[in-house]
């Protein structure tokens, strides 16, 4: 009875926190399956973008949920499950990247596209339909993926969480446990580093074709 009384904070929280509370208190497998179904895709996207390899991203996603279950007792109802989960996933990605560096390995897909020192020189700003759209699209994606792998992990984490996963700067600050201002400055630095990597391509292709950006700057 007393254990049930402690559940009352979770009753007024979101479905994620409610499900996690059921996992924590009762080891409820259905609640855990619900969480996995809801969060699998975002976590897999994060892991894939952090390590630059979709197969490894899948493995890391499984590891993330395994660790979430292992750590269920340390989850506190006051904190958001998403923050808890993003943090676990990022730590697992950092561990994996450290392991890869120690072994001197390169992610499979990055290696297939030429590795770190051989970035494709793709006109990523070219637009308009063409006969080789799919191929060009894949090459652009590979160029961005490789460029992301070349910037520092703290910048990459912020970029992926903000740009691809759509977290607010405040939420990223909670996940990384750093001040919000630091998140924004890392975001600016990360974008600048990416710009330097992709810049020659951008400048060559963008200059003759692009319309004046003054209007498009107003977000």
């Amino acid at each position: 009875m007393s254990a049930r009384l402690f559940q009352w904070p979770a009753l007024f929280s979101s479905p994620d926190e409610q499900a996690m509370w059921r996992v924590k208190m009762d080891d409820d497998p259905e609640a855990f399956a619900e969480l996995v179904q809801r969060w699998q895709k975002p976590i897999q996207n994060l892991c894939t973008r952090m390590v630059g390899d979709s197969h490894r991203g899948e493995d890391l996603t499984q590891e993330t949920f395994a660790r979430l279950f292992a750590k269920r007792k340390s989850y506190e109802a006051r904190s958001k499950l998403s923050t808890f989960l993003w943090r676990i996933a990022l730590n697992i990605c950092y561990d994996e990247l450290r392991r890869l560096r120690r072994r001197g390995e390169t992610p499979l897909e990055a290696a297939a596209s030429g590795g770190d020192d051989d970035l494709p020189t793709i006109d990523i700003e070219a637009d308009g339909p063409g006969p080789h759209d799919d191929l060009v699209g894949q090459e652009r994606a590979a160029a961005v993926r490789d460029a992301l792998q070349r910037i520092g992990e703290p910048y990459r984490a912020v970029l992926v969480l903000r740009h691809y996963e759509g977290l607010k700067f405040r939420e990223i600050a909670d996940v990384l446990e750093i001040p919000e201002g630091t998140v924004k400055s890392r975001m600016a630095e990360g974008l600048s580093q990416l710009q330097k990597i992709l810049h020659p391509v951008v400048r060559e292709s963008a200059t003759p074709r692009r319309a004046p950006l003054r209007e498009s700057l107003i977000v």
Binding site: S14, P15, Q44, N45, E125, K168, G181, K184
Partner: protein, 218 residues
């Protein structure tokens, strides 16, 4: 306005300063006037656009505010909250009516509270005792396991020592038997050689006796 900081520019580029329209407008105005900041912002915008080239299969990309996902989430949060609010209001009303119709005297209330507290304390005490019993049982089991392990180790050690002693004895016996056998073989050889020599002597004596003539005897 001074040049906006990179942090302010990030807020602007990702639309996170929309809660402050005045600030947003001032950044917009500055960007239209200042070529340096405009170039910087354009570079970041180009990079943002480039990032969108990497799409993952099934990835939703940005999650704009007010998307179906967020609405569904909000609905799921609000519905249980409303239910709980209704239940709480019903309980409060029932309590109020019951209190008005059958308000207990202070003494009765005190007795009721005392009973409840006593009951709760008894339950806690029982739970504590149960926990203590379980802990003691667990500790005893662990100690018994440790003792059994120690005894098993001693028995193993003793069995090992006995086996070694028996092996040494057998080894000694075998060596002794080997020496005795060797000695016996030597003795038998000696006997055979001596017997052979005597036999030769006896044969010679018989031949000599056979060659002696009878006249010579008489």
């Amino acid at each position: 306005m001074n040049h906006p900081s990179p942090e302010e520019m990030m807020e602007h580029l990702y639309g996170e300063n929309s809660a402050n329209p005045a600030h947003r407008q001032s950044v917009d105005a500055h960007l239209q006037q200042c070529a340096e900041c405009r170039t910087r912002a354009q570079g970041w915008q180009q990079t943002q656009a480039s990032l969108n080239a990497w799409r993952l299969p099934g990835a939703s990309g940005h999650r704009p505010a007010g998307s179906g996902r967020i609405v569904a989430l909000a609905a799921r949060v609000v519905r249980p909250a409303l239910r709980w609010a209704a239940a709480a209001a019903l309980l409060i009303s029932a309590g109020y009516v019951a209190g008005r119709t059958a308000a207990p005297s202070p003494a009765a209330l005190s007795a009721l509270v005392e009973r409840q507290v006593s009951h709760a304390m008894n339950r806690e005490r029982a739970a504590l005792a149960s926990n203590l019993r379980a802990t003691a049982r667990q500790t005893a089991t662990q100690e018994a396991r440790q003792l059994l392990g120690a005894v098993a180790q001693q028995l193993d050690a003793r069995r090992q020592a006995d086996s070694e002693a028996l092996y040494a004895t057998l080894q000694e016996f075998v060596e002794h038997q080997t020496v005795a056998l060797s000695q016996l073989r030597q003795d038998l050889s000696t006997v055979a050689v001596v017997a052979d020599a005597r036999l030769v002597d006896t044969q010679e004596q018989i031949l000599e006796l056979a060659n002696v003539r009878p006249e010579a005897i008489h």
